[in-house]
């Protein structure tokens, strides 16, 4: 299949299984360059598996085209090297490492010192408190701060695409809104495309341009966020009103 015009990431017929359980069963999705795409669905719908399939964290079949290149043998390392930042489920905080060390690890694939410094300044522009807390063990940060650190850390890679796995997990409503507002800002100012898996459909649809709703490992509905937010079925199943 020829890649669509303006697509940064295009996945076709992704399958992944954990032993007997087939977690995703033929997912197709596209992230347009510069857009925010939401991946919605209940627990077990396949959101995390889809993100992991894209980065090769789990074994999968199907094709993934990123920035015009077909990714044949997908590994998380390659994903990082070609510019896919992944904020894993549960934030992936390196608890005993300092905030600064967490950031430096985000830039693991960036070899030039000058670029690392520039990235660091850029990221601290979004999260000024990181600078004051750089020596603090990351595990002593609050949940919301850890989520922001995880985003900052993924940005250190200077990614073209940022994958976020349920950034609202375990956070209060205000912090969740702050985080999504920040994602919008980062998307606009840095031109980073974002694919965010989220259970909180309301807040995700509010910032996303496009959304996919997963159900038992398949895309059940997809379309522009505004359309989905108005879709009765989506509203009943995922928004709860």
């Amino acid at each position: 299949m020829a890649p669509s015009e303006g697509a940064l990431l295009e996945a076709r017929d992704l399958h992944a299984r954990y032993g007997e359980i087939e977690a995703i069963r033929g997912v197709d999705l596209t992230v347009a360059r510069g857009s925010i795409v939401a991946l919605l669905g209940a627990n077990g719908a396949g959101k995390t598996s889809t993100l992991r399939a894209l980065t090769g964290t789990i074994k999968t079949t199907g094709t993934v085209v990123f920035a015009g290149r077909t990714l044949q043998r997908r590994t998380p390392e390659d994903a990082a090297r070609i510019g896919i930042g992944h904020v894993p489920e549960g934030r992936g905080t390196l608890s005993s490492l300092s905030v600064w060390e967490n950031l430096m690890l985000g830039a693991y694939c960036v070899s030039k010192r000058a670029s690392v410094r520039a990235r660091c300044d850029r990221v601290i522009g979004y999260f000024p408190w990181l600078a004051e807390r750089k020596h603090q063990p990351a595990g002593t940060l609050s949940g919301g701060e850890q989520q922001m650190l995880a985003i900052a850390r993924a940005l250190m890679l200077e990614p073209q695409l940022l994958l976020l796995d349920e950034p609202s997990l375990g956070l209060g409503p205000k912090i969740v809104r702050d985080i999504f507002a920040l994602l919008r800002t980062i998307n606009q100012q840095d031109g980073v495309s974002i694919l965010v898996a989220e259970q909180n459909a309301t807040v995700a649809l509010a910032v996303a341009d496009h959304a996919y709703v997963l159900e038992t490992g398949r895309v059940a509905v997809s379309g522009p966020s505004s359309e989905l937010a108005g879709n009765d079925r989506v509203r009943r199943s995922y928004l709860g009103y």
Partner: protein, 340 residues
């Protein structure tokens, strides 16, 4: 950066104490401190592997055995000098460590602990089996390590200084290895492998290399153990030695290199102290001491000391988090474990 002052002062103090010890301490203490050096090197290996990288080994005695026997066999059967034997012991042990490290990639947590434990259990029988090389039950007696003729040191002091010089070098090399990018990647794999991999860290490379370097250190420690006793036998390298190393690492402080030094002193002298307190049941005293230390200084003696010093000099504690953590209601709503 935080001030390095206290750390440098501590290093300088340690070097001075080690340098003047033979001049001020009785001969048997100096002899014991050769063992302390051997243990410190081996425990450092465990700290790099388990403390920094999170791979648990209950079998490091096996790497010490390999290092000890390589040095001993080369000296005893081939008459090679130790300055060749010890590096070869390090190389052999490191190669074996990489092999075990490759196997360890498929095992985690308690499974790795058990697999390495079986290595420790098998070692004595293995040594007894290959009699022609290892001397079987009886082991191998070695010549005392002597200073070159022109050097004004007796045999014991010579070995003491050589052992501690090597200790200094391997501590320095290990410090260089784990600082910066390499060390961050090692510790990231320990804290959160999935996140580490998502930054592009190759887990196979780091974990195997950590195992290899750890085994190099254990091998060098084993070689010095052999030279200090001037004798190797299967009974020197029982599984109890592997456990002793882990005890030393945990008691000393498994997250810092100082833990290796302190842990080595503890495992060398605690049995004597226990014997003095109650000659009838030293094992009980030893065990109680271990339990008490784990209760009161769970982060090891060095961790406890660091907290004490920080308290005394009034270094500010960590700032509290900006916001209170997760409101309970929100966490209940979304915290169900998902297997996506």
């Amino acid at each position: 950066m935080r001030s390095n002052g206290p750390r440098l002062a501590a290093i300088a103090l340690a070097i001075v104490v080690i340098a003047v010890l033979p001049a001020i301490a009785p001969s048997f203490i100096v002899f014991d401190f050769i063992f302390v050096a051997a243990y410190a090197i081996a425990i450092l290996g465990l700290i790099v592997l388990t403390g920094m990288n999170g791979q648990i080994s209950l079998g490091h005695g096996a790497f010490m055995a390999l290092g000890g026997y390589v040095a001993a066999v080369l000296a005893h059967n081939a008459g090679w000098p130790y300055w060749i034997g010890v590096p070869l012991a390090a190389v052999a042990s490191g190669a074996f460590g990489i092999l075990i490290g490759l196997i360890a990639l498929r095992l985690a947590g308690v499974y790795l602990a058990l697999a390495t434990f079986s290595l420790a259990v098998a070692t004595p029988s293995f040594l007894k089996h290959f009699k022609s090389v290892t001397g079987g039950f009886g082991g191998l007696s070695l010549d005392t390590v002597k200073a070159p003729g022109w050097f004004p040191l007796d045999a014991q002091n010579w070995l003491y200084y050589v052992a501690w010089a090597v200790t200094g070098v391997v501590f320095l090399l290990s410090a260089l290895l784990v600082q910066g990018k390499f060390g961050r990647a090692l510790r990231a794999l320990r804290d959160n492998p999935i996140a580490a991999v998502s930054f592009g860290v190759n887990p196979y490379y780091y974990k195997t290399l950590a195992f290899g370097w750890s085994a190099v250190l254990a091998g060098i420690g084993g070689a010095f153990l052999a030279m200090a006793t001037a004798y190797v036998s299967p009974d020197t390298f029982t599984f109890a030695l592997s456990i002793t190393l882990l005890i030393g690492a945990v008691l000393g402080g498994i997250l810092t290199f100082w833990g290796a030094l302190v842990g080595a002193i503890v495992v060398e002298f605690l049995p004597f102290v226990a014997q003095k307190i109650n000659a009838g049941a030293p094992g009980v005293v030893y065990g109680v001491a271990l339990i008490l230390m784990m209760l009161f200084v769970p982060d090891g003696i060095v961790g406890g000391l660091q907290r004490l010093v920080r308290g005394l000099i009034g270094q500010p504690q960590l700032q509290p988090a900006l916001e209170p953590t997760v409101p309970p209601a929100a966490s209940i709503a979304v915290d169900q474990p998902s297997r996506e």
